[in-house]
Assembly symmetry: C2
Homo-oligomer: 555 residues x 2
Amino acid sequence: MRAVSQCILFLINISLIAPTDTFKILIATDVHLGYLEKDAIRGSDSYNTLDEILKCAKTNQVDFILLGGDLFHENKPSRRCLHSCITMMRNYCMGDSPVQFSILSDQTVNFNTTQFPWVNYQDENLNISIPVFSIHGNHDDPTGSEGLCALDLLSASGLVNHFGHSHSVDKIEISPILLQKGSTKLALYGLGSIPDERLYRMFVNNQVTMLRPKEDQDDWFNLFTIHQNRSKHGPTNYIPEQFLDDFLDLVVWGHEHECLIAPSRNERQLFYVTQPGSSVATSLSPGEATKKHIGLLRVKGRKMNLQKIPLKTVRQFFIQDVVLADYEDRFTPETPQVNKKVEDLCYAKVLEMLEEAERERLGCPMTPEKPLIRLRVDYSGGFEAFNTSRFSQKFVDRVANPKDIVHFLRRREQKEDIKGIKLVKTAAAEGLRVEDLVKQYFEAAEQKVQLSLLTEQGMGKAIQEFVDKDEKDAIEELITYQLEKTQRHLQARGVITEQDIDTEIQRFRESKKNTTEEEDEIREVSAAIIKYFHTSSTHTEMHICFKVVLANCDS
Amino acid sequence: MRAVSQCILFLINISLIAPTDTFKILIATDVHLGYLEKDAIRGSDSYNTLDEILKCAKTNQVDFILLGGDLFHENKPSRRCLHSCITMMRNYCMGDSPVQFSILSDQTVNFNTTQFPWVNYQDENLNISIPVFSIHGNHDDPTGSEGLCALDLLSASGLVNHFGHSHSVDKIEISPILLQKGSTKLALYGLGSIPDERLYRMFVNNQVTMLRPKEDQDDWFNLFTIHQNRSKHGPTNYIPEQFLDDFLDLVVWGHEHECLIAPSRNERQLFYVTQPGSSVATSLSPGEATKKHIGLLRVKGRKMNLQKIPLKTVRQFFIQDVVLADYEDRFTPETPQVNKKVEDLCYAKVLEMLEEAERERLGCPMTPEKPLIRLRVDYSGGFEAFNTSRFSQKFVDRVANPKDIVHFLRRREQKEDIKGIKLVKTAAAEGLRVEDLVKQYFEAAEQKVQLSLLTEQGMGKAIQEFVDKDEKDAIEELITYQLEKTQRHLQARGVITEQDIDTEIQRFRESKKNTTEEEDEIREVSAAIIKYFHTSSTHTEMHICFKVVLANCDS
């Protein structure tokens, strides 16, 4: 049933699809290879799905594969991860089928991260049947003084064509790869992940240019791949679609995990945006529960058609919300044994999802048996959270994530009694998001002459001034905000190794002597430290923890 | 001068070298790619030399390259390291020159670590001009549940043929790659690094078999590559040459860093052994100061010729010993300003080495400018060590290792007054090495019912019982001994990740409750912890440090 449900979603007057003039492109993004690879149940999920994607490309005899970033989940993928990726690509993307398009642009400009600056299928030592073109994402972004990313290992091996890597921080010139198949001309633009705030500012300052072919500009189908926030995570913490040039025909938007692959038309810019979404759920949020697809894009002349292909190997994910206060006909916080009743309700809800999962899975042998299940329980109004570990036990054989099925939360409006509510209220009234508030807070703080070290404790204090300590999301959002802000700093300075952090801490100490001049410095350094707390492995965290403590002791 | 000094070292009646019947094999080992790669001066040394080696193979139009292990210095090479290696191999080993030998053996047996179990040059999707055959060393050995090593990434990419990986711990069957070029038949045996003590025991127990072709056994030239201790590091901590089958013609011995590439004949086994040595100095010991070479091996029929080729990119390394007591005509410990006189002497010695280095470097543009210099100063007899940091300052612009030029040491026989001297004396009398003593010590300790946790402190105590605390070498040797012993345990258990260590610590705690039964366990676990202290990155060290402290607190 599912296998034949590949519906043609989008069709603009392609009267006749002549294969020799039509580009067939497999579109996927955010494969996150290696995600949770040590998990006993889910460890192979990301691998199985990359295998499915590549196999699908081969079966459909596509001209090329286009990946929108985050092929790897970890910046430094494990050996297993690299090995599997290399093996799969060698298996599926090498072979005798001839590649039927040519490249007209200057390839030394297009492929500027390798000593082999030409498309892999034109390398006379490699027999490539399906070229893969990929930009990097924020997970697998370039690091170190060499500015290399995991993708560059595949690129050096000749298995991937890494493009869209901008080396300048002042100016971005996106030079398209110009492809021609028969009479169809395709200009492929790409921009690897850049911290959103920096890119936002660069767009505002006209520092981003998309170059265009000199001749026959109107003959080209213009395809752009980007890996940024599409939804607004903060006032300048995303890329508004209208920033993108209106000569574009289609934007393939990576980074956002929700599958919104059906092209949506931007009526202002008159281009379409397709958001394929991740091919593995890396969080248990509603966006990841949308059925996952990849796309088969056909381009002939300036016309296109995007066929969505459901992924069969993706683990099912069901999410439901329960508001306990809505069940007053069955129980209130005062009802005897209310906890038991709440637990029974949750149990029934989970069973319901499990049954739905089972029905859907019928006849889909490639779908993993145990689904992901998330029940969000709003226990505002005096209810208590029950013991989730006992609850988990009941589903240990049926659910892929038994330990975190239930997530208790309280609605924000319940917190009348909490310090800082005024700010939150103001925010709600003005339509501001928590991040905006955080930004306001920091902007106010910038006026002060004395700035305290924003260690995790300092951070905690800051946020306690306007939201409750238990409000985990707010803290996360604050950190996210600081992270984005810091990324510029880190990238500009090339802060990568421990040694770099030492240097930064040194700078920080010195800057403390000149607080009036060096306020920004302190904040940036602190944020850098915090970034490492939250984005690095346990080892690094501990290491930095040491350093911060030392820095505090000494100063 | 140096360039033309490639002398023919070894020639057995090769009356006429007909190219079509003669295998030309470039032999190198212990490239240690990535060694000190973050060092400002020496960071590119290992990269430059691999480049030289590969270029040399291409210039000499060899049939293949044979590497004896430790291509990579780190088990998990950095991105730069992998990227450079892939790039260089793709540059030098791919191309149109046809490979002129064929493979007669079952390649699925020979290349058992890849999903592409055939020699890379026969892969129809790769255009290989120089196949590289490599075993793994102890630095780049397989780890993790997948048993993959860094070499396997290159192998998956089709750039290296990784062979000699034995997957069994009970039985090793070495099946040769059978190569034929014209009338010459070459049986290529390989055995990737295995902990010496384990392999020693397996040899003793007849668990190691070298398979031979069924037909025409006498027609084959039998070449074996091994990566083990050749010099005796302990009674069973090396592989005696006589353990190896006497049907062999030539053994290429990796792991030992001293270049002893001229084949030496083992008169008992009637085979030859060549020890190419490392291509980069990874320690400042005398063995590394020997001029470094790679070999060009020609094999025709059962005859061979090994031409040694000096490496031009290797950083010069000079080492000298000074015994202060030998200068009694110039000073004694009582001489006024003796420290200054000693320092002047050392200064003169270093200058002497620097001048020698400069002379030798004349006309060698590929040799790095700053040499490695080591002056070992024996200050026994009442002399004092002088301030080396001031001394270093004088050579900071001329020496590649200014910080550790001078190494002070005291001769063992001077330590009459030191606790434990009896044991050392006995050892000297019986011709035993320190490691043997350590072994005796531990064997005695095994008799005891109560065993204390061998943390670093415990280790320190143990060694203090028979040698002075200042005797750094002894401590190092003890650790080395324990490491080798532990490797078996680690490999058998697959202890790789932090989680594994947690499990091991758990076992250790439990085993404390059953000391009589679990003595070995405790020692092994402790050694495992110690191994991590000494072989891992700073992060891991600190992490384990935490764990050990916690383990101690809890128990």
